[in-house]
């Protein structure tokens, strides 16, 4: 993390080149706007931390192709300081050169060429150290291809750059501009040479010359025999001034200004010059922060600064990282476009005056006027931190240092699972060179440009490349699975969140799938999906029999609409900003929680669904309608809490982990724990075949759950949060459907007896009797239908669902399961 320190935030805006014509890319899809491409490439820049470089903080896309970039900024720059003549001193000059080179070398190692070096973007922090800025522009614009303006200033451009034509904007070209031969690090060396010569002599070389003259003369260097260094010194009579320079420094400058870039030293090479030996000796290794989940020693070179009373700063904000402060700035009402507007930087002409005159059928446009506002304006606007500081003035000091642990926190921390093998994670970044199946590759290629493309970041080519790598890595690491469509949607939120850390995005995906989508991605996943959908329909019937009956009546079964929901955990049907909301809750729940979300969605759309026929329902879900996600989350939590755990048991859920410790606290988290992770016994739920599941409309409940919810073995330490309050009504109503004789021989306490054979009248309604009255008086209780060995219980339950009774479920294995318990009692004679 880089602390804010005394830095300011500088905002700059520029326009990406718009694609004028209807061009299509090689994949037949419309071209990605240049602004989106830049947005994607920019993300990598935000990871650059170096003491000689200004941090890039944020980029945002405005209307049309406008981009707004926020970066670290200081008011002092070389243009200003150079005029004071400070760099007339050799030491100062060398320090300047050394610091600039340090920054350049770091960039070069990241394969970035500055290409934009000028006096105005060599900044100085408050301690007078060099901070290079604007170094990412050439890189993010794909070497200038994505913008229509030239990058850099003519006076500092080396001859080889000027040899090449500037990138031209052809309004009617059919191909996209691509720069195949970007500039290397040595271009910056020339610029540095010119800049150093200028600040040392305090003469602006080529001052007063027009641009064409400057360019012409630079190109002339190529033919002229005279060394540019000599040319400059003679042209501007600098001989006297440079006389004082030691030989080494003269050599340095002369080498920088070598015409032939082959002979020109690279920044790395220059740093090894003898003149910098002192600087090199005093150099402190730069360690800035650490990557998350790294195996490197984080504190190897850590030197804690000695505690100093005087060094204690009152300005806590400056101790926070820049990203954090910027985030707070936005929270405090910061508005980038507003800031630019107030500085007159986004003044555009009224659109009516810019409309073209005519347009051909091919989409070529004529007579369009250029808005001057689209030209490059190098002005940097400083964001005022005043408002933020005012807002924070009341905040307690401690709030600035949230990571100081108390003892309690530490114990918590120790319990956190250690990363099983960090090396695994590093490895995840690597990719197989050969992907097994060509088809998979093709499918991924096709899916990615259709996945969450409204999201600016994810629609950029950078994101597409990352998508591809993460998905392929997943396919490679899970040979037991196949690539199913939908995996791309599943990957999207993780990638969007960990854009600069593909390995982490992959690990998230890798951990998410086994928990919620165990075996969903098998080649033949029908058994898994079928069971899932069956349990889903049971759950609908359990909570909303009316809706369930209607949907079943019109034949609108979950198979027709819910598969993409579950296969992508809703990532395919909701936009990311809503999805994160949903997943925040989903991740806390167990693997059955997604079923409850499905029911919550249906509940929200109930009024429409009830009134719709089959075709309208299909149409409604062909494209998920707007869902109030907040409500959906609340509903699904409610549904989850009101469902016995065994009712949403699935045999194909992830099997229990091998090491089940005898938990001291049996239910650490009821919500997040899976049924399969609980210890099992005779009374637990057991797998059922798909036919068995389909035979009944409502879920089964295990005897274990029933005993617990009904508190038949006395008040126990409840496993469920649905623990009833003291003295409240019982949660269960047990309905014994066996014939009365058997009922009288022994049954579950406080159960009612409605023998199946005599329960229903010919019209299909329940025959009125005292037991039915009791049943009707308990609409909100979970109704457990208990039967013998025959199918009566199932049939009875189905009938109850048909009649619209809520929360009906069947006791798994019937009354027999309780024989070995001491629960069964003889009912009081009067019932």
């Amino acid at each position: 993390m880089t602390e804010l320190g005394k830095a300011d935030f500088g905002v700059k805006t520029f326009f990406a080149k718009s694609h004028p014509n209807d061009k299509c890319g090689s994949n037949g899809l419309p071209l990605t706007p240049n602004s989106i491409k830049i947005l994607g490439r920019f993300q990598g820049l935000t990871t650059i931390h170096h003491p000689r470089l200004c941090r890039y903080i944020d980029i945002s896309k405005g209307r049309h192709e406008r981009l707004i970039v926020v970066s670290e900024y200081y008011k002092d720059n070389l243009l200003k300081i150079g005029k004071t003549g400070k760099y007339g001193s050799v030491e100062e000059l060398l320090t300047l050169a050394y610091e600039v080179l340090e920054g350049l070398v770091y960039l070069n190692r990241k394969s970035i060429t500055h290409r934009n070096l000028s006096k105005s973007n060599i900044l100085f922090d408050t301690k007078g150290n060099v901070k290079l800025s604007e170094y990412g522009l050439y890189h993010v614009t794909e070497y200038g291809a994505n913008v229509s303006f030239p990058i850099g200033l003519p006076e500092y451009m080396p001859p080889e750059v000027l040899c090449d034509c500037p990138i031209e904007t052809d309004e009617h070209a059919d191909t996209e501009t691509v720069v195949t031969d970007p500039c290397g690090p040595k271009t910056d060396v020339w610029s540095l040479g010119v800049i150093l010569l200028e600040v040392f002599t305090n003469v602006d070389l080529w001052e007063g010359l027009s641009n064409p003259q400057k360019i012409y003369r630079t190109v002339e260097f190529l033919n002229e025999g005279k060394h540019p260094f000599d040319f400059y010194t003679e042209e501007y009579s600098l001989q006297d001034k440079i006389k004082v320079l030691p030989e080494g420094v003269l050599d340095f400058l002369r080498n920088c200004l070598t015409v032939n870039s082959k002979e020109r030293p690279s920044p790395e090479c220059l740093l090894q010059y003898k003149i910098f030996s002192e600087h090199n000796a005093n150099k402190k290794p730069y360690k800035n922060g650490f990557r998350m989940f790294t195996v490197q020693l984080r504190s190897k070179d850590l030197e804690l600064s000695p505690y100093d009373e005087n060094g204690y700063t009152e300005d806590h904000l400056s101790e926070r990282s820049m990203d954090e402060v910027y985030y707070l700035w936005r929270l405090a009402g910061g508005d980038l476009e507003g800031v630019l507007k107030s500085q007159g930087l986004v003044k555009t002409k009224p659109p009516v005056t810019l409309i073209p005159n005519f347009c051909t059928g091919d989409g070529d446009v004529f007579g369009q006027k250029r808005d001057r506002a689209e030209l490059l304006d190098n002005t940097i606007v400083v964001l005022s931190q005043e408002q933020l500081r005012n807002r924070l003035s009341e905040v307690d000091e401690k709030a600035y240092y949230p990571l100081i642990h108390t003892d309690d926190d530490m114990t918590e921390f120790k319990r956190m699972p250690k990363s099983s093998s960090a090396a695994d994670l590093l490895e995840t970044a690597s990719l197989p060179l050969i992907i097994r199946e060509k088809d998979v590759e093709y499918q991924i290629e096709v899916d990615i440009p259709r996945c969450h493309q409204y999201h600016q970041l994810l629609s950029s080519p950078t994101a597409h490349a990352k998508f591809k790598r993460v998905l392929k890595a997943w396919v490679y690491y899970n040979p037991q699975y196949v690539y199913w469509q939908g995996l791309d949607s599943l990957c999207a939120p993780f990638l969007a969140l960990n854009f600069n850390d593909e390995a982490l995005a992959f690990s998230c995906l890798q951990a998410f799938i086994p928990k919620y989508l165990h075996n969903f991605f098998m080649k033949d996943n029908s058994a898994v999906i079928q069971e899932y959908l069956c349990v889903f329909s049971h759950l609908i019937a359990f909570h909303d029999p009316e809706l369930s009956n209607h949907l079943e009546g019109i034949g609108f079964i979950p198979d027709l609409y819910a598969i993409p929901w579950f296969l992508t955990m809703y990532a395919h049907v909701f936009p990311l900003h809503k999805l994160v909301h949903l997943w925040d809750t989903l991740l806390l729940g167990n693997s059955s929680f997604p079923l409850c979300i499905g029911v919550a969605i249906l509940t929200q759309l109930k009024s429409q669904l009830i009134s719709f026929g089959f075709n309208e329902c299909i149409l409604l879900f062909s494209d998920m309608p707007e869902i109030n996600i907040e409500l959906c989350v609340q509903d699904s939590i409610r549904i989850f809490c009101n469902t016995p755990k065994s009712a949403i048991y699935r045999q194909h859920a992830r099997p229990a982990k091998k090491t089940i410790k005898a938990d001291s606290r049996p239910n650490l988290s009821y919500y997040s724990r899976d049924y399969n992770d609980q210890p099992t016994n005779d009374l637990s739920m057991e797998p059922k075949t798909i036919e068995e599941l389909r035979a009944v409309k409502c879920p089964h409940i295990s005897a274990e759950d029933m005993i617990e919810l009904g508190e038949f073995s006395g008040p126990v330490q409840s496993k469920s949060p649905t623990k009833r309050k003291h003295n409240s009504k019982p949660m269960l109503l047990v309905i014994d459907v066996r014939v009365q004789e058997e009922f009288n021989k022994g049954t579950i306490p406080s159960s009612i007896n409605i023998p199946f054979q005599s329960a229903f009248c010919p019209e299909g309604n329940l025959n009125p009797c005292p037991a039915v009255t009791t049943l009707n008086a308990h609409p909100l209780q979970v109704k457990v239908v208990v039967g013998g060995r025959n199918k009566n219980a199932l049939n009875f339950a189905n009938e109850l669902v048909r009649l619209g009774y809520k929360k009906v479920c069947v006791l798994h294995k019937g009354i027999d399961v309780l024989r070995n318990t001491s629960i069964l009692t003889i009912p009081p004679a009067d019932i």
């Binding site: 209807d22 419309p30 706007p33 989106i36 394969s111 229509s148 303006f149 030239p150 003519p154 000027l162 040899c163 500037p166 990138i167 009617h172 970007p182 500039c183 290397g184 690090p185 040595k186 641009n211 064409p212 360019i215 190109v219 190529l222 032939n260 870039s261 082959k262 009224p350 659109p351 009516v352 005056t353 409309i355 073209p356 005159n357 005519f358 347009c359 051909t360 059928g361 989409g363 070529d364 446009v365 004529f366 007579g367 030209l375 490059l376 190098n378 590093l426 690597s430 990719l431 197989p432 050969i434 409204y454 600016q456 629609s459 049907v573 909701f574 149409l619 494209d623 309608p625 707007e626």
Partner: protein, 568 residues
């Protein structure tokens, strides 16, 4: 991207192993990733990783530098070989790049009269002066109308006289003499016509100049006075008499239905659709509007004037033929509507067309040699469109004249038909230039004709709906924030059954939002936008606009709030 062979030898126990792999230069992925791949693919032992990394790093670095050098050398060689002319052109290109694209080098553009006027006008129309401004415009337009009436009467009179003369002549004179007379008549007619045209042009020029001077002057006054321009603001409710019942219900009775729809698979954007049946020129023409016998400006005029220089423009697609002149059919009527009053902001229609005509040859120079098109064939073609701008039309700022031909009458045009593709280009222009409302002739016809049977209409409506939906989804991808209004226009004379059939089709093709569904179907439905023109509405919309005279809201909420205010 080239590949270089990288060789790496290492020792494990006594075994010497050599790794040879092609490495892409430049290496686009992080070095660590690449090494990870190598280790996995070749099953390399972990103890060599560090060394491998070091070597590979140096290798990649060296070769990347070499690539740079090679590229540079190629460029330098080229320029060294080049003659003076190409060096000159190179320098020229560079300096052009700087002067045309970078503000510090660009010529400082002096603010043109047009720009100044537009700014001042926009400021005034959003100030208390708007009322005066509108009335002034209105008065001017009345004068023009008056002149037009005189012209029409004069011409009518002349025609009448000539006809009588001709009738007489046919009876008595010889053929040659009749011809001569006809010739005379024609010349006479032309002379009179040009006299009127000249007079009209003069009047308009004078008006335009006066108006502009007045606007600038008022603005200067406002600037110089410390107090805002309130003095001349009238309270409209006090000066206007009560509307008669007849005036209240005068509005055109038409079929109209509005929908709010959602577009997009995951991220939804909200847009408004409107299906209406009316004459397309009704959207352009100002209707005489009286309140209590007093002729006052229409409220649409206010809306149009206020949004003229905003980011909320209205456009209209007018189908036309490949002839730029405006003498026949609908075009003639359109040009009549345009000349009805002075356009204070843009050149008149004829001038705009002339300048478009001048630019037409550009298309060939741009596409140049590779165009398969015949070089002499520079006229307009089906699928082209030209654009005119207007400030004096009722509900429209921008008109897209879309060139069509008879192929459009066929019942089986596809989504690849040039006219359909052109609609895509028009929608694209709408997104690029902030036209938030666009009117599209749904059946791609302005009048009902005999080939337009019920199945024909259904197919056409379905095609256009689906294509427009597709285009909207495509364009909205990256500009998701703003909502648009699309008006689908069907010609007058369509049956009620057909209209409701189309309306039902719309709801199946577009996802209609559940929240708002303003259902106004039916013959008897009063057109909301034009039905409620009475003092009450005028007053309310005025106050509404005055409250927010700083900025016009750029979104569609204006319409909604105006709607609700007039309903209440």
């Amino acid at each position: 991207m080239s590949k270089e062979d990288f060789k790496f030898t290492f020792l494990s126990k006594d075994l010497v192993s050599t790794l040879e792999v092609p490495v892409p230069i430049p290496l686009k992925q992080p070095l660590n990733d690449f090494i990870g791949q190598l280790v996995t693919a070749h099953n390399l032992p972990c103890f060599i990783e560090n060394e491998l990394k070091e070597k590979l790093d140096a290798f990649v670095w060296k070769h990347t530098q070499q690539t740079y050098e090679k590229n540079v050398q190629k460029k330098i060689d080229e320029i060294k070989k080049a003659d003076q002319a190409s060096v000159d052109s190179l320098v020229d290109k560079w300096s052009k790049a700087f002067t045309q694209e970078v503000k510090t080098y660009a010529k400082v553009e002096a603010e043109t009269q047009e720009e100044k006027f537009s700014k001042v006008y926009h400021a005034l129309i959003h100030s208390p002066a708007l009322d005066t401004l509108l009335n002034l415009e209105h008065t001017y337009s009345l004068t023009v109308e008056d002149l037009l009436r005189q012209r029409d009467a004069d011409l009518g009179h002349l025609q009448q006289r000539q006809r009588e003369e001709m009738d007489e002549a046919v009876k008595t004179y010889s053929n040659d003499e009749v011809n001569e007379l006809a010739q005379n008549h024609f010349e006479q007619m032309q002379m009179i016509e040009s006299k009127w045209t000249k007079e009209l042009t003069n009047l308009k020029d004078t008006q335009k100049q006066e108006f502009r001077e007045w606007v600038i002057k008022v603005h200067e006054d406002t600037q110089s006075q410390s107090k805002p321009y309130i003095g001349r603001m009238r309270n409209i409710s006090t000066t206007l008499p009560e509307a008669d019942d007849g005036e209240r219900s005068e509005a055109t009775v038409t079929m109209e239905e509005s929908f709010t729809i959602h577009l997009g698979a995951q991220m939804k954007t909200t847009h408004n659709l409107r299906l209406l049946c009316t004459d397309i020129l009704d959207l352009c023409r100002h209707k005489t509007h009286t309140v209590g016998g007093m002729v006052i400006p229409q409220p649409q005029r206010l809306q149009t004037a206020m949004s003229l220089y905003s980011n909320n423009l209205c456009g209209l697609i007018l189908l036309t033929d490949n002839n730029l002149s405006m003498y026949t059919g609908l075009k003639k009527h359109f040009s009549r509507v345009c000349e009805q009053s002075t356009d204070f902001h843009f050149p008149d229609l004829q001038q705009q067309l002339t300048s478009i005509e001048q630019q037409l040859p550009l298309r060939d120079t741009s596409k140049g040699n590779k165009s398969s098109r015949e070089s002499k064939d520079i006229g307009l073609q089906t699928g082209d469109f030209y654009i005119t701008k207007h400030s004096n039309l009722s509900e429209v700022h921008v008109v897209f004249h879309l060139v069509t031909d008879d192929s459009i009458r066929s019942s089986d045009i596809t989504s690849r038909h040039p006219v359909i593709l052109s609609i895509r280009n028009i929608i694209k222009q709408c997104f690029r230039h902030d036209l938030h409302t666009i009117t599209i002739p749904l059946l791609l016809a302005h009048h009902m004709s005999e080939e337009m049977t019920i199945p024909w209409c259904q197919r056409r409506a379905e095609l256009v709906f689906k294509c427009v939906k597709g285009f909207m989804m495509e364009m909205a991808t990256y500009e998701s924030s703003s909502s648009r209004t699309i008006q689908f226009l069907v010609p007058l004379g369509i049956s009620y059954e057909m209209f409701s059939g189309i309306s039902n089709m719309l709801t199946t093709i577009f996802r209609v939002s559940n929240a708002i569904k303003v259902h106004l179907a039916g013959i008897s439905t009063v057109d909301i936008s034009r039905g409620f023109i009475d003092t009450n509405f005028v007053e309310q919309s005025f106050t509404y606009q005055l409250q927010k005279n700083e900025e016009t809201s750029a979104d569609g909420s204006t319409d909604i709030s105006m709607l609700s205010s007039c309903v209440s």
